[in-house]
């Protein structure tokens, strides 16, 4: 199990492959569910050129750990990875990587789904988006639609 914040660019599929290469659960896990959040070039405003991801470092690590811990209590997970980007990102950059491994598929799928929703509503990260008109703080996370 691991969760961390990255100040530099993250490559989701390599991160997940690397996490898997360190596991000793081969033959035990039958399911892996992942979610990757990636920066878009639009939001409520068009033509977003970059974004600043601020966070509250001490609280962030505590919350990512807590989320992982809660997910493990709710579902029979064999491994779990949460990585969140901070700092300046541009469209196409990965912002968050969540991966869950379990023996049977519902645990991994449900935990992954739960983790992204909880993370979006609990973890102390904030986005400031920039376009030609300047920077604006994103005021709240949506329900995903």
């Amino acid at each position: 199990m691991s969760s961390w914040v990255s100040e530099t660019s993250i490559e989701p599929w390599s991160l997940i492959a690397e996490q898997q290469s360190k596991q000793t659960i081969q033959g035990e896990f039958g399911a892996t569910a992942t979610f990757i959040g990636t920066m878009r070039d639009f939001s409520d405003r068009p033509d977003i050129s970059r974004m600043l991801l601020e966070h509250y470092p001490a609280m962030t690590s505590r919350y990512l750990d807590k989320l992982e811990q809660s997910a493990r209590e709710k579902w029979a997970l064999l491994d779990c990875l949460i990585v969140h980007r901070v700092g300046e990102v541009t469209p196409g950059d990965a912002i968050v990587v969540i991966a869950c491994w379990s023996a049977h598929r519902r645990a991994a799928l449900d935990a992954c789904n739960w983790l992204i929703e909880e993370l979006k509503h609990q973890a102390p990260f904030w986005k400031k988006e920039f376009n030609a008109q300047g920077g604006e703080w994103v005021t709240g996370n949506t329900d995903g639609h």
């Binding site: 959040g37 991801l53 601020e54 966070h55 509250y56 001490a58 609280m59 505590r62 969140h84 912002i95 968050v96 992204i116 993370l119 979006k120 509503h121 609990q122 973890a123 102390p124 990260f125 904030w126 986005k127 400031k128 703080w137 994103v138 005021t139 709240g140 996370n141």
Partner: protein, 89 residues
């Protein structure tokens, strides 16, 4: 002995509360961190650290890295943080 007791009393009366602001609130308030010598609860810390700025309706509060309320009591050494709704992920 007398001097030492005097110092102890001083320490008791004078708390140390770390106040932090993040994101849009950090910009609005104009600073990241403030140290307060005393504050009974998060609301008082907000008022002292912002010069009585009106607290936004969706204000979030964390005390020692856990979500808390404006009415939550503060103790010496506490860290209280104020921030807008989170928008990570």
């Amino acid at each position: 002995m007398v001097s030492s007791n005097f110092k102890l009393a001083e320490t008791i009366n004078q708390m140390s509360i770390q106040v932090k602001f993040f994101a849009s609130l950090r910009e609005k308030v104009g600073h990241n961190d403030v140290e307060l010598a005393s504050a009974q609860n998060a609301l008082e810390a907000w008022q002292l650290a912002t010069n009585n700025m009106t607290a936004p309706e969706n204000l979030l509060v964390a005390i020692n890295l856990d979500y808390a309320k404006l009415e939550s009591t503060l103790n010496d050494g506490d860290e209280v943080a104020f921030f807008p709704p989170v928008t990570g992920g």
